[in-house]
């Protein structure tokens, strides 16, 4: 399988099929990223399309100092944020909103509810911890790539990830302690 750098060289020589291969390789990661920012699938698709077109136009400027994936990730993140800004939606963070969580006093958390609950808790993390955590866990980026995208030192990227995961664990355990028969302990037992 050709590396991204090999495909980029082919694109620069005029082989457009090589760019199609790059699209195929990276579109899933970019769509997930765009969806996490815009929270709207059609808009996320538009963001991804726009980002790949920008990447194609600027490919001559890509020097290979970072990975193509992290470079494209940054383009997509900026495009998604610009789209939110132009729509007057600066942030879709839920920090100041009520969480739509099932009534736990009555039912307790079941497996699918646990998934929703964890997803909601990820959304509540401080922005930089959420970024580092989601890039590592959902997009499988290395800490070096995360640091490049976040514009921070390598150790800071790792620290953001670490703190995000610890905060998440803390919140889930607190929820678990507050509610009888929540999903987390069951999940852990069934994972054995």
């Amino acid at each position: 399988m050709k590396t991204d750098q090999e495909l980029i060289s082919e694109v620069k020589e005029g082989h457009r099929a090589a760019f199609s291969e790059l699209v195929c390789r990276h579109q899933k990661t970019m769509l997930r990223l765009a969806l996490r920012v815009t929270r709207d699938l059609p808009q996320a698709e538009d963001v991804v399309q726009e980002s790949f077109l920008k990447a194609y136009q600027k490919l001559d400027l890509f020097e290979g100092r970072s990975s193509f994936r992290s470079w494209l990730y940054q383009i997509t993140l900026n495009s998604a944020r610009n789209r939110l800004r132009s729509a007057g939606r600066e942030s879709l963070g839920l920090e100041h909103h009520e969480l739509a969580v099932p009534d736990q006093a009555e039912s307790g958390l079941m497996q699918s509810d646990l998934r929703k609950f964890i997803g909601a808790q990820v959304e509540l993390l401080p922005e930089r911890q959420k970024m580092a955590l989601t890039m590592r866990i959902f997009d499988d980026l290395s800490f070096r790539e995360i640091a490049e995208i976040m514009g921070c030192p390598y150790d800071t990227a790792k620290a953001n990830y670490r703190h995000g995961l610890m905060k998440l664990k803390d919140r889930i355990l607190k929820e678990d302690a507050a509610q009888p028969q929540t999903g987390w302990e069951t999940y852990l037992m069934e994972a054995d």
């Binding site: 760019f19 136009q57 955590l133 989601t134 866990i137 790792k158 990830y161 670490r162 995961l165």
Partner: protein, 107 residues
Amino acid sequence: MKEQNESERDGDGWWIDFMEGELDPSIMSDVEWLLKHSPADQEKLREYVELKKAVAESDWGQVTWQASDWCTLQEKIMMALDQQESSSAVKSSPPIELGVEGRIQCS
């Protein structure tokens, strides 16, 4: 015990760094000893491994598409690229000039 490092200062940081393959080599032997002899620490590591897995399986930012949906998006992007290239070609095509007799000539 080795000199306190960043992971240790973060409490559970050791287990996260170990899970991610980022543990400071200078404390690896201590951590491996703990994992071998301490059920409580084994459980801590396991919780983080399961938490990471649970996050990956959570609803946050998931896209449940079929393979054909991804093909459609890829085609859409390449078609948009074709259109972009076509309109760039039209903009950069040489201007049409009128010759002495008023005929259209390409420069």
